[in-house]
């Protein structure tokens, strides 16, 4: 068969013996055979076409067009009157206090939601990865927050964190702490928002870690136990190194998630949510993008914010690649 398209055995050399059915193949000259060959060549592209067409239309084109818009002064609904301004939007962002606040807030909220979340998920996965009664129930229970929406979770937590009558301040009051200003003070508000993110995603990450941990051969633990390693020591020296790629993966995904926080701060703030709280104390880049584009009607500037977010993501990607390389070198692989 003079064609580059054939079934692929998935990396390993094909070891299929010549099939007895081979002689039944349609004769090369017939029309049927032509259709057959055409089908063989074209079908892979036909199968991937829907994805790539949709992606080109609703992913790639808008991404590039956003970059083009970011070099213009343009208002909502008046794209025809876009006016070329070069890098002025970016320059104005760099000189804008709001932008730097949003950038720093995105970073701090990202850190205080991602770090505890992943550490707790690791611990939780370790606990779930042993002989347990009620294992199925516990796994479903910790995953349940994943089924709630950003909107529902945020509204519930906003009520729990309410300063005057919220349950959390009542609880803190028992210990003689408070009342904490969960809405108006900067750090408490950021911690409250991070709590919502952490609550929704810890169980999900724990299950991802659990799956990776189950692939670690039991022999490794037995050998470590023979050498007198405690369970904690085994966790640090066997489990963590074995699932390092998964950990790196969750760090990347959580970081990407953290750069786009929008619904949590917006809904947490109620009627001041769009501006990220009464003093912008938890305004994120996504909120600033929305506010700039839709409230202040400055699409060019909003597009520039979007592209700054893209640059941040590319930076994260580069760090991932470098970290993976360094890790591999360290392991001598």
């Amino acid at each position: 068969m003079a064609t580059s398209v054939k079934a692929d055995s998935g990396g390993s050399p094909a070891s299929v013996p010549p099939s007895p059915a081979q002689h039944r193949r349609p004769s090369p000259s017939s029309l049927r055979s032509k259709i057959y060959h055409w089908d063989l060549k074209a079908s892979p592209y036909a199968f991937i076409a829907p994805f790539f067409l949709c992606f080109a239309a609703f992913g790639l084109f808008p991404l590039i067009y956003t970059g083009w818009l970011s070099l213009h002064k343009v208002q909502l609904g008046a794209e025809g009157q876009a006016q070329w301004v070069g890098f002025e939007n970016y320059a104005k962002l760099m000189g804008s206090e709001f932008f730097w606040h949003a950038l720093v807030n995105t970073f701090t909220i990202g850190v205080i939601s991602t770090v505890p979340q992943l550490l707790m998920a690791l611990g939780l996965a370790h606990l779930l990865n042993s002989k347990l009664r009620g294992r199925a129930f516990l796994r479903i229970a910790v995953l349940t927050p994943y089924a709630t929406s950003i909107a529902a979770a945020t509204l519930v937590f906003a009520a729990l964190f309410q300063t005057d009558y919220g349950l959390i301040n009542s609880l803190l009051d028992v210990f003689g702490i408070g009342p904490v200003q969960w809405e108006t003070s900067k750090w408490p508000a950021q911690i409250a928002i991070s709590t919502i993110v952490t609550w929704r995603w810890t169980g999900y990450n724990a299950l991802i870690y659990l799956a990776a941990m189950q692939a670690v051969p039991n022999d490794l633990y037995e050998a470590a136990a023979l050498d007198g390693a405690s369970r904690w020591r085994q966790f640090i020296s066997v489990t963590i190194p074995s699932i390092r790629p998964t950990i790196l993966f969750t760090i990347i995904v959580s970081t990407i998630g953290a750069t786009q926080l929008f619904g949590e701060p917006m809904l947490y703030g109620g009627n001041v949510g769009i501006s990220g709280g009464s003093g912008g104390q938890y305004q994120t880049l996504s909120l600033l993008l929305y506010q700039t584009g839709w409230t202040n009607n400055n699409l060019g500037r909003a597009s520039a914010i979007a592209w700054v977010m893209l640059l941040i993501l590319l930076l994260i990607g580069a760090i991932q690649v470098i970290t993976a390389r360094v890790n591999r070198k360290k392991l001598g692989g």
């Binding site: 580059s4 079934a7 347990l132 995953l143 089924a147 929406s149 909107a151 993966f249």
Partner: protein, 295 residues
């Protein structure tokens, strides 16, 4: 690029069921910690019910109530009528169903091509699929909004559905499943017998991929049901909301309602998915651990 992804070796059988794993017994401290984790996970949902079933005045009074009250139906009906919750429930169901069906269908086709067919540019294109998983909606939202406006699609469901018809994660998920689950000999034998690609898809790929398609469908449904950013931007008129947009309208202070009613609205948006979890929880857990690891 793909070789760096953490791929947990899984046999065909264990694919969607977590194994026993570490066979050492959990100690009492482990039980205490796990029960605390389960309580922390479930408590906000329980308290959502408590708040939604008490009067607004009671919820806004310290100390906050801890037991369900008798105002549930009143609060639900106010929330329901205030922000078109009935329409929202139907809209959300339609959107999540269409998005799930289309995502699963296209992901299975593309996943099969990437897993078992050899064609020019395969590795490059697969790398592109993986790369697109990192593009957040914020980066494309402005032109998409313009497209939707130009098409006069604002406040319609197709505006919500359109950008979500395919998902890179789904393509990668199906590819990972089919690499292992679909014996290449089966495809080759069918080819030898003269079966065309559509027959192979229909009679071989779909039946074998069914468990993964179900999992991907459930995950996509949950995600689409809960989606907020894009629907919030494109559904500006209160007449055509999805549940999350209704809920945002209820909670953002546009309406003179108390938190008991806002939380009754939250309950309406959450309960359908909680029921799904109650019945299919095990499968969803298995699906996340089988698929999400490799995304």
């Amino acid at each position: 690029m793909t070789t760096q992804l953490p791929v947990a070796p899984a046999t065909r059988r264990s694919r969607f069921a977590l194994g026993a794993g570490d066979q050492r017994k959990a100690g009492p401290i482990a039980y205490v910690l796990l029960i605390v984790a389960a309580l922390v996970s479930l408590f906000p949902l329980y308290w959502n019910l408590v708040a939604a079933s008490n009067s607004g005045a009671r919820v806004q009074q310290a100390p906050a109530p801890l037991l369900p009250g008798s105002h549930l139906l009143d609060n639900l009906s106010v929330a329901w009528n205030e922000v078109h919750m009935g329409t929202a429930l139907v809209n959300t169901t339609v959107v999540a169903s269409v998005v799930s069906l289309s995502t699963v269908l296209f992901a299975t086709l593309a996943g099969f091509a990437f897993a078992k067919l050899r064609f020019k540019g395969r590795n490059l294109l697969l790398g592109l699929v993986v790369a697109t998983m990192t593009v957040p909606p914020q980066l494309t939202v402005i032109p998409l909004y313009q497209i939707v406006t130009d098409l006069h699609w604002t406040d319609t469901l197709q505006a919500v559905i359109m950008p979500s018809l395919v998902a890179a994660f789904g393509v990668f998920f199906m590819r990972q499943f089919l690499v292992e689950a679909l014996p290449v000999e089966l495809v080759e034998a069918a080819r030898m017998d003269g079966a065309n690609s559509l027959r192979i898809i229909w009679h071989i790929v779909f039946p074998i991929a069914r468990p993964a398609m179900a999992v991907l469908g459930m995950l996509t449904f949950v995600q689409s049901w809960n989606d907020f950013f894009w629907p919030f931007i494109v559904l500006t008129d209160n007449g055509t909301p999805t549940l999350q947009v209704s809920l945002a309208g209820l909670g953002a202070g546009n309406h003179t309602v108390d938190s008991a009613i806002v939380l009754a609205g939250a309950l309406i948006s959450t309960v359908p998915l909680l029921l799904v979890f109650a019945f299919l929880g095990k499968h969803i857990v298995g699906g996340i651990t089988a698929g999400a690891v490799k995304s």
